[in-house]
């Protein structure tokens, strides 16, 4: 298919305009984070470039602590999800036993229970376990995921059955086969699920809001809310600097993982 020159120009104009509109709020935030408060308040274009906003954000708020907390929680959730869903997916694909189909429906049923609808008892469980203000309380409730299990199950199904038969003849047990064959072969989809798990954990809001009460374990999302509500002088530059710091890790991850995510999410979604 050849594209005529005028059509090409037409598409580029639309593509660029759409990109500017969509990325507008983000560009604006980045620009504002380097502007002086005076420039922002008078609504003028940036006249001087300054890093003061970032300095202030880090000085007045334990941002490093927040970032560290978010990193720990997100990585722990990511690893937990990878381990639990790959184990479950292995059982659904390679093992045959009574009740397997029933359990599969149980996994599907979990997708119909929104976390928000069960948040009250969940909060009470964490409180009664003494897990408020702990990384455990922030992370463990999210380890089991039906979505992750289905995504990996799709992938495991593509591994030739002959491979398992051959390994059985060689006397290889299931756990060894899972570790030495299935996991390495499925690296790509494990990475996809890992990226997805990290992204959604990093961006979590309601649960960290409920299950943390102080700065020692508070995640960066709640830190940003603190920053926004406590900056009473309308220091938008400082707030935007905080917001930019919050989105940089996920944007970098998305930048490298976009293709993988697109493929993985579509496959996981449309069996």
């Amino acid at each position: 298919m050849t594209i005529s020159k005028s059509r090409k120009v037409f598409f580029y104009v639309i593509l660029i305009l759409s990109a500017l509109i969509l990325a507008g709020p983000m560009i604006m935030a980045i620009v504002m984070s380097f502007m002086t408060n005076k420039d922002i308040l008078t609504g003028s274009l940036p006249s001087t470039f300054t890093l003061d906003n970032y300095v202030h954000a880090f000085e007045r708020f334990p941002l490093f602590q927040y970032l560290f907390n978010s990193l720990v929680v997100s990585i722990v959730i990511m690893i937990g999800q990878l381990v639990l869903s790959s184990l479950a997916a292995y059982a659904f694909v390679f093992l045959e036993f009574k009740g397997r189909d029933l359990l599969f429906y149980v996994f599907i049923a979990t997708m119909m229970v929104p976390f928000e609808a069960s948040i009250i008892p969940n909060f009470q469980i964490i409180r009664d376990l003494g897990w408020i203000d702990t990384y455990t309380g922030l992370a463990v409730p999210f380890f089991a995921t039906a979505f992750g299990t289905f995504l990996l199950r799709q992938n495991f199904k593509q591994i030739p059955k002959e491979l398992r038969e051959a390994s059985q003849i060689a006397g290889m047990g299931d756990f060894k086969y899972y570790v030495t064959v299935v996991l390495p072969v499925s690296k790509a989809s494990l990475v996809t699920l890992g990226i997805y798990g990290f992204l959604s954990s990093w961006n979590m809001y309601l649960w960290p809001l409920l299950s943390t009460t102080n700065d020692t374990v508070r995640t960066v999302q709640i830190g940003l809310k603190q920053l926004q509500t406590q900056e009473q002088l309308n220091e938008w530059g400082v707030i935007m600097a905080g917001a930019v710091i919050v989105i940089i890790p996920t944007l970098i991850l998305l930048f490298f993982g976009q293709k993988k995510l697109q493929k993985g999410l579509t496959e996981g979604a449309l069996k």
């Binding site: 594209i3 598409f11 580029y12 593509l15 759409s18 990109a19 969509l22 990325a23 709020p25 983000m26 604006m28 504002m32 639990l84 184990l87 479950a88 292995y90 093992l95 045959e96 036993f97 009574k98 979990t110 119909m112 229970v113 929104p114 928000e116 609808a117 069960s118 948040i119 009250i120 008892p121 909060f123 469980i125 463990v140 409730p141 380890f143 089991a144 299990t149 299931d174 992204l199 961006n203 809001y205 309601l206 409920l210 999302q221 940003l224 809310k225 926004q228 707030i239 935007m240 989105i247 944007l251 998305l254 930048f255 976009q258 995510l261 697109q262 493929k263 999410l265 579509t266 449309l270």
Partner: protein, 313 residues
């Protein structure tokens, strides 16, 4: 060897075989369970038990720490459905779904179609369009909080240059829900775009080639090939966006705190306040059950409606 002896040997052999089989079945059952147990335990503790506990709590009055005190039957449900605030919240939630879902899907579909052209540098545009997926609800809300700021916000400044009167985006009851919806649509676009683009790319290119041979135009191909072939993906995207809309919380917490005059008090925010500000866990649980049923119904409805319209390859 006599005949009976042989029969006996065969018989005991069979029994052995049966027993071995049975043993194997039990063994494979335990093996299967071992692989599934971690997930099952966590689902039970943090999903199934809380769900049943929520149903249970919704029939009780509770102490401030959430322990049930008096069984009140359906009273919590009767109370929330006769409370003007909760009914208001339901109305806002449905309006919010109506404002955000079609708009998110249409905008993302438009972006996916233009980003599916084979042009130089298209990868850059794809990255930009999917970027809002990496922006957390807290960060997105902070961006828009500034954009909506009545005096120095960018939107009112732009309106000002055209001589249009400033709008109280987040403070005017007429506008607040729309403003929250705009923020939500912006946040949705990254994810829906990425999924729809994936759907577009999986359409068999020979369909377009044969349409080209017949001299079909761009819009004709869009209508007769792209849209029908994309319907399974659309179906998925719409369901997910609806469910997400029902679960929205962060943008409300940062942008409006449910105001003005409860105009943006969406259901999750409402139940959060009822439980963790007013400490009425029974009534909050009843609201949670309503949310649960709503999402369940929406999923079922989507499947039913979707079945007829969806074109499966």
């Amino acid at each position: 060897m006599s005949m009976t002896n042989t029969a006996q040997i065969i018989e005991t052999g069979l029994i052995d075989l049966e027993q071995v089989k049975k043993k194997q079945r039990i063994k494979s059952f335990f093996k299967g369970m071992a692989f599934l147990l971690p997930s099952i335990i966590l689902f039970s503790v943090f999903l199934f038990y809380p769900m049943f506990r929520t149903i249970y709590l919704s029939f009780f009055l509770t102490k401030a720490n959430g322990d049930p005190t008096v069984f009140v039957g359906l009273e919590n449900y009767i109370n929330i459905f006769s409370s003007p605030i909760f009914l208001r919240s339901m109305k806002s939630t449905f309006l919010f779904v109506l404002y955000t879902v079609p708009a998110s899907v249409i905008v993302s579909l438009f972006l996916a179609i233009i980003a599916n052209e084979k042009l130089k540098g298209i990868g850059f545009f794809r990255t930009v369009y999917s970027s809002t997926m990496g922006v957390s609800v807290a960060a997105a809300s902070v961006f828009w909080l500034y954009l909506f700021n009545p005096s120095m916000g960018l939107l009112n400044q732009i309106l000002g240059t055209f001589g249009i009167e400033a709008i109280g985006w987040l403070t005017d009851p007429k506008w607040a829900l729309i403003s929250v919806s705009i923020t939500t649509i912006w946040m949705n676009v990254g994810f829906t775009f990425l999924i729809l683009l994936g759907g577009l790319q999986s359409i068999d290119s020979s369909l377009y080639e044969s349409a080209d041979i017949e001299g079909a135009g761009y819009l004709y191909k869009l209508r007769k090939i792209t849209i029908p072939m994309l319907s399974p993906t659309m179906f998925f995207v719409i369901t997910v966006t609806i469910i997400n809309a029902f679960q929205s919380f962060g943008q409300i917490d940062i942008l409006t705190q449910g105001g003005p005059i409860n105009e943006t008090n969406l259901i999750v925010y409402s139940l959060y306040r009822e439980a963790f500000v007013n400490y009425k866990f029974g009534s909050a649980s009843a609201q949670a059950i309503v949310l649960f049923i709503l999402i369940l119904l929406m999923t079922a409805l989507q499947f039913k409606l979707g079945e007829r319209k969806v074109h499966y390859q």
